[in-house]
């Protein structure tokens, strides 16, 4: 026991002190902060006035084109050839050519409008132009049908559903679909990332010991299993440290950036929401804003969610970590790892894909099985948690995850024990099976 602590200590310290660790720990949050800030900054920087020329041969659009602050529109009724020649010499951003047409043949316009520009036009600008033209065409069509835009606006409905969950005791609590989905998606994704990042780190560590030939010296002092588990746990602690620092630094940096780059008066709640939205993977923030978010958070049992998250986080990592260690022990070089990585990556990638469909349908049988089977349960159960799956399912899934962990570390331990002392041998699945059977 004393020795395993020594091993954990070495694995932890030797990694945390590495330059690459420090660099990654600092760069990670900067990237995250940049990701959060981009929508806000982009919105601010894109205020430069653009001038767009519109050569409207039909004469239908002049009166109805929406005015916009960002775009200055100039209309021409001359033939396109003449306007085009003028445009060549101008500084204008784009020239839209609307061919001659009448109100009755307006539909034909939809596919024959051209835009001329000096440089390729960004998607956003194209959308801006086409939205304007579409709305004019729509208005004309509406008029043809005897309707006006006002009538359409009046008939439009916007519903914001508040789900209220009835507890067995008759209590009512506000449902929490959006936030919960966001949180669980983020949680599942975090587990996925953690397993991959630090599982690979375990694998590299084992390979380093093997190729530097120190392993035989060490296993004459400790049991191979102790060395393997010490490494897995040590790397996990490295991961916790890095994640904790990332979260802390991201928080500090984004707060700093928000206060420094955007003066408080300019902060637009919608922009902030956009930033957050990216993180929560396209979750729609309800219109009534922060208060509603808080209410939703309150309605979820956060401690329970956090505790289960931690369980699946640690459990999933330990289970896969052992397998990564086994792969590291079986091969001589990084290039040989490919063939053995497949069975590890496939269930992981499958669960992240399954997670997305499961959020749509949290009670499907796919959701059930994926959240029970240990290889997918750490990620998938995260997705089901906010939808209050039956307690026995959570329990069963947890027990199976523990059994899965014991099983994979037993298998991995047997592969590891033989593999670390094998050099220059071509290892196939058949050889692995032999090693597992070997006494």
């Amino acid at each position: 026991m004393n020795k395993i602590i020594l091993i954990i200590k070495r694995e932890y310290l030797s990694r945390v002190r590495k330059k690459s660790f420090i660099v990654m720990t600092i760069l990670g949050p900067i990237l995250m902060a940049a990701l959060m800030m981009t929508p806000i900054l982009m919105d601010n920087s894109d205020t430069e006035e653009r001038s767009i020329w519109i050569c409207d041969e039909s004469g239908l659009f002049v009166s109805q084109f929406e005015k916009s602050e960002a775009v200055k529109t100039t209309f021409f009724s001359e033939p396109i050839l003449k306007v085009k020649a003028l445009f060549q010499q101008s500084e204008a951003f784009a020239l839209v050519h609307i061919p001659n047409s009448s109100e009755s043949t307006i539909s034909e316009l939809e596919s024959i409008i051209n835009v001329f520009a000096h440089k390729p036009i960004s998607l956003a600008n194209r959308r801006l132009i086409s939205r304007n033209i579409e709305s004019v065409i729509e208005s004309i069509k509406l008029k043809n049908e005897g309707l006006t835009r006002d009538i359409i606006e009046k008939t439009r409905a916007d519903i914001n559903l508040n789900t209220i969950i009835l507890g067995e005791s008759g209590s009512e609590k506000l449902g929490s679909t959006e936030i919960a989905m966001g949180l669980s998606m983020a949680g599942g994704f975090l587990i996925y990332m953690f397993i991959f990042l630090y599982g690979t780190m375990v694998m590299r560590g084992v390979m380093e010991e093997k190729t530097s030939r120190i392993v035989e010296i060490i296993i004459s002092s400790v049991k191979p299993f102790q060395l393997m588990m010490g490494k897995i746990i040590g790397v996990a602690l490295v991961g916790f440290t890095q994640f904790a620092l990332w979260i802390l630094l991201t928080f500090v940096l984004s707060t700093l950036a928000t206060t420094l780059l955007v003066s408080p008066a300019e902060i637009n709640p919608a922009d902030l929401a956009n930033g957050t939205e990216l993180l929560l993977q396209d979750v729609e923030i309800p219109q009534n804003g922060i208060a509603s978010i808080l209410a939703q958070l309150e309605s979820m049992n956060l401690t329970l969610l956090l505790a289960t998250f931690l369980f699946y986080f640690v459990g999933g990592y330990l289970m896969y970590g052992a397998l990564f260690a086994a792969v590291g022990a079986a091969v001589d070089s990084e290039t040989d790892t490919q063939q053995f990585m497949m069975p590890i990556t496939i269930p992981l990638i499958f669960s992240i894909i399954a997670l997305q469909t499961i959020l749509e349908n949290p009670d499907s049988s796919l959701a059930f099985w994926c959240s029970i089977i240990p290889f997918t349960s750490p990620i998938v159960m995260m997705g089901r948690l906010p939808f209050d799956p039956p307690l026995w399912e959570i329990g069963l899934s947890m027990v199976l995850l523990i059994i899965g962990f014991i099983f994979t570390s037993w298998i991995a331990g047997r592969i590891y024990r033989v593999g670390i002392l094998m050099y220059g041998q071509k290892v196939t699945y058949k050889t692995l099976w032999k090693w597992i059977k070997q006494s």
Binding site: I7, E208, E216, K434
Partner: protein, 301 residues
Amino acid sequence: MMKVLEVQSVSKSYSNHIALNDVSLSVEEGQIFGLLGPNGAGKTSLIRVINQITMPDEGQVFFNGQKLNHGHIGQIGYLPEERGLYKKMKVGEQALYLAQLKGLSEKEARKALHTWFEKFDITPWWDKKVEELSKGMAQKIQFITTVLHQPKLLIFDEPFSGFDPINANIIKDEILKLKENGTSIIFSTHRMESVEELCDHIALIDKSKKILDGPISEIKEKYKQQIYTVDFSSTELEFLNSLPEHLKLIHKNSHKAEIQIVNDSSATELIRFLLDKCDIKGFEEKIPTVNEIFIRTVQGN
């Protein structure tokens, strides 16, 4: 003499071959035990069994009269043939780590390491990374970490590889000092001259079986072939071409010859015979070298 290690009929087989077949041997206190054998004979497998890296299929190993268990790890020091260190770790830190894994406390380990570092005059290496060291330097560190915890039994597998002759001598002297202090040493190597120099006892393993075992002097006695080296004072040695039937000329140069007695007549008779023919400057029984014994037994097996 007390037996430090006793291996009793140990067998070990892997999925596709037998590594050890009923091997027994015992190592006494303060003895240097040469474990010899051609490549792939099973030496490393035996050493791994002694180090409890692998478990034998059959047979038992006793350490100090007790059945070998994990408690004995701190009393064994092992320098494997395939050895290395963590490249990115600092020398001192790494040595401390390895010593602590052997059961020393950090304080004990630090103290012992400083003594050894001073002895080898390598104190400035303490804060260097291993990747900055040359191969020989790294081997020195490995030697220190192997012996640091003052084990009762040391196992050296090719301890001199990677050393220049000067450093090899330093290591050899340290090994002899350890022996004087009562440490038993199992010494596995292909360098027969160092076996001659160091070992008290040898065992030869070939094709997973032990084919020879005994004190080096006894083995040499047993493998003598009644060959005598004679140094003649003249160079007229034609008579050697027509020796009587019980004598056989093995080798001859200008004034020296190696003669083997084929029947059981004595060396005195040979001298008498030779003196009749020519004057003799020197007469010596030819003792087989370990190298010759190795080649003869392995080829004969």
